[in-house]
């Protein structure tokens, strides 16, 4: 590498540590199902992928979508329906979910992209609420009950997903591929343009970039990856429900990002793990879930403002951590 930009130097300073941690993380995930309840880890992985997909948009493009549940839940419904009603194999179901999410993303993005900031968020929210309404009313979603008992099937006709460990490693693979995709997109020439649009949109236009198209492309990519996460979740839990298309779900993924650290690669994963873990532990603890969650958010905002990972970056890894305090 002949020239190091500032960004790259920052990374260079911590790159070995970071890669080391990532490798450690992957190893931990490979070993995890032997120590932790695998279904729980799979849930974390699905949400972590969802959070990463969202981060692609918020952290690296500066677009705050308040409607991402549409893609997550929409893909889950599509996949669950295709697999259950039409007897599609799981891989086809997941791809369909992902494609459907991308399509929904295209429509929502197309409408929302002309607006900025909070207005962008609000249009996505409004459209997501309409999609929610559709899901409540449409017969195929089976209303409150959701699509239950989705068969896991056999992947490519060989891997029996009913075996928990098989399912686990498939989910892990999907997760890793998804996260790699986000990483690649962010650290690509395209990602560079996204970043500059986030920084100064007018300037990017005057440099000749059709900003709308870049944003839309990022939006669709993020939607597709969110869909991948949602469809996978539907297969894992054999379930697609309204929960996944509510605005609270859109909110939850924002929280995961904020907790973990916006604009960092690992942050959303940590955030998702934390939120999911918390929900799980507290559900059976007798302590009111909401109070604990609320307190954690408050404390995080006051103390770990950049999110947990963002804060670690900022304090120990680099003075000029990117993105932690802006959105």
């Amino acid at each position: 590498m002949s020239e190091l930009t500032l960004q790259e130097r920052r990374t260079a300073a911590s790159v070995r540590l970071e890669w080391g941690l990532v490798a450690l993380g992957v190893l931990a995930l490979i070993a995890a199902p032997f120590f932790i309840y695998p279904i729980f880890v799979m849930k974390m992985l699905c949400f972590a992928l969802f959070a990463c997909a969202f981060n692609l948009l918020l952290g690296y493009t500066g677009l705050l979508s308040f409607g991402h549940a549409t893609f997550f839940g929409g893909a889950a419904y599509l996949c669950a329906y295709a697999v259950k009603a039409w007897g599609w194999p799981p891989e086809a179901g997941i791809l369909l979910g992902m494609g459907g999410a991308a399509l929904l993303g295209l429509v929502m993005g197309f409408l929302a992209i002309r607006r900025q900031g909070i207005y962008f968020a609000m249009i996505t929210l409004a459209l997501a609420q309409m999609f929610y309404f559709f899901c409540v009313q449409a017969p195929f979603t089976e209303g409150e009950d959701g699509i239950q008992g989705v068969p896991r099937g056999t992947l490519f006709g060989i891997v029996d997903l009913n075996v928990t460990m098989n399912m686990y490693y498939v989910v892990l693979a999907i997760f890793l591929i998804g996260v790699f995709a986000v990483w690649r997109i962010v650290n690509s020439p395209f990602g560079m343009i996204l970043r500059s649009i986030r920084e100064n949109e007018n300037r990017a236009i005057s440099l000749g970039y059709s900003v709308g198209r870049y944003k839309l492309a990022a939006f669709v990519m993020s939607a597709a990856l969110a869909g991948l996460a949602g469809a996978t979740k539907a297969i894992v839990f054999q379930f697609a429900t309204l929960t996944d298309v509510t605005w609270q779900m859109s909110g939850e993924v924002i929280l995961m990002n904020l907790l973990g650290g916006i604009g960092t690669m690992v942050g959303p994963v940590v955030g998702a793990g934390l939120v999911v873990g918390l929900e799980n532990t507290l559900a059976t603890s007798g302590f009111p879930v909401t109070i604990a969650t609320g307190l954690i958010f408050m404390v995080c905002v006051l103390i770990f403002r950049r999110g947990i990972v963002g804060e670690i970056y900022a304090r120990w890894l680099a003075p000029a951590a990117d993105g932690g305090d802006k959105g």
Binding site: Q7, R203, G208
Partner: protein, 266 residues
């Protein structure tokens, strides 16, 4: 009428027939009942530096916005290199070679200085949408970026965050970014504002050399610079063209003196 003179009075014995690269006819823009620009005709020639001056609020920036399509004209017609761009998107116009700088400096504050320039180089190189390649794909742009930074004297700051530069150096950076696009027509909105004397000299030099094979339209209040640099001057007042000509002509114009230059300027 003014344009006719413009063509006729082209100075110097340039071999080239002076080529109009950007022209506007009957340009008008209203803001909620207020007419900011009113029936303005303008021709910008290849190889020339054209100044747009006038008192504050005369509509200069608005004209820039209209020409670069950041604003839609209420009426009128704009042509760039013989193509009608009256209804074209700003990004498209930029790709066609009409690039502007902003009055308030426009950079990407959280990118490094080098990356600021590379982002600009990225577009013509077609690397914009490549989301599957690694960032090192951009390394091929680095030498050119360095070169451009060298031209404006920012090579020592290549790795600093652009946002940490002082105001003046930010403007210089903006010019470097603009250069990266190798534009055919360059619109500069007060490029010297907020700059020290030495920098003014540097920038003047850069602009002069740039104008050799492209057209430059600039807004500038520093009359010394205008006198020194510009081949042709359009003076605006209250949205309209008040006078046009070379510096000598314009500066003798009584109306211009009253409306703009003041009494002190010789």
């Amino acid at each position: 009428m003014k344009t006719a003179t413009a063509a006729a009075v082209q100075p110097d014995g340039d071999q080239d027939v002076p080529r109009v690269v950007l022209s506007a006819r009957g340009l008008r823009r209203d803001f909620a009942g207020f007419v900011a620009v009113n029936s303005v005709d303008l021709d910008v020639h290849h190889g020339k530096i054209h100044a747009l001056i006038g008192p504050n609020g005369a509509g200069k920036t608005t004209i820039f916005n209209l020409l670069t399509k950041f604003l839609q004209p209420t009426s009128g017609r704009i042509e760039l290199l013989g193509t009608d761009i009256t209804r074209t998107s700003p990004a498209k116009v930029a790709r066609m070679g009409l690039v502007r700088s902003f009055q308030i400096s426009a950079i990407f504050p959280h990118l490094s200085v080098l990356d600021n320039v590379r982002v600009a180089l990225q577009r013509p190189s077609g690397l914009g949408f490549q989301f599957w390649r690694s960032l090192s794909a951009l390394d091929e742009l680095t030498p050119r970026a360095r070169e451009l930074l060298g031209i404006v004297g920012l090579d020592d700051a290549a790795n600093r965050l652009a946002g940490d530069l002082s105001y003046g150096r930010k403007r210089v950076l903006e010019i470097a970014t603009t250069l990266a696009l190798d534009p055919k027509v360059l619109l500069l909105d007060e490029p010297m504002a907020g700059m020290g004397h030495e920098d003014v000299g540097t920038i003047s030099g850069i602009i002069r050399s740039l104008a050799r094979d492209r057209a430059v339209l600039m807004v500038e209040h520093n009359l010394t610079v205008v006198a020194d640099l510009c081949d042709w001057i359009t003076v605006m007042q209250r949205g309209q063209v008040l006078a046009a000509g070379d510096y000598a002509t314009v500066s003798q114009d009584e109306r211009v003196r009253i409306a703009y230059m003041g009494t002190e300027h010789e």
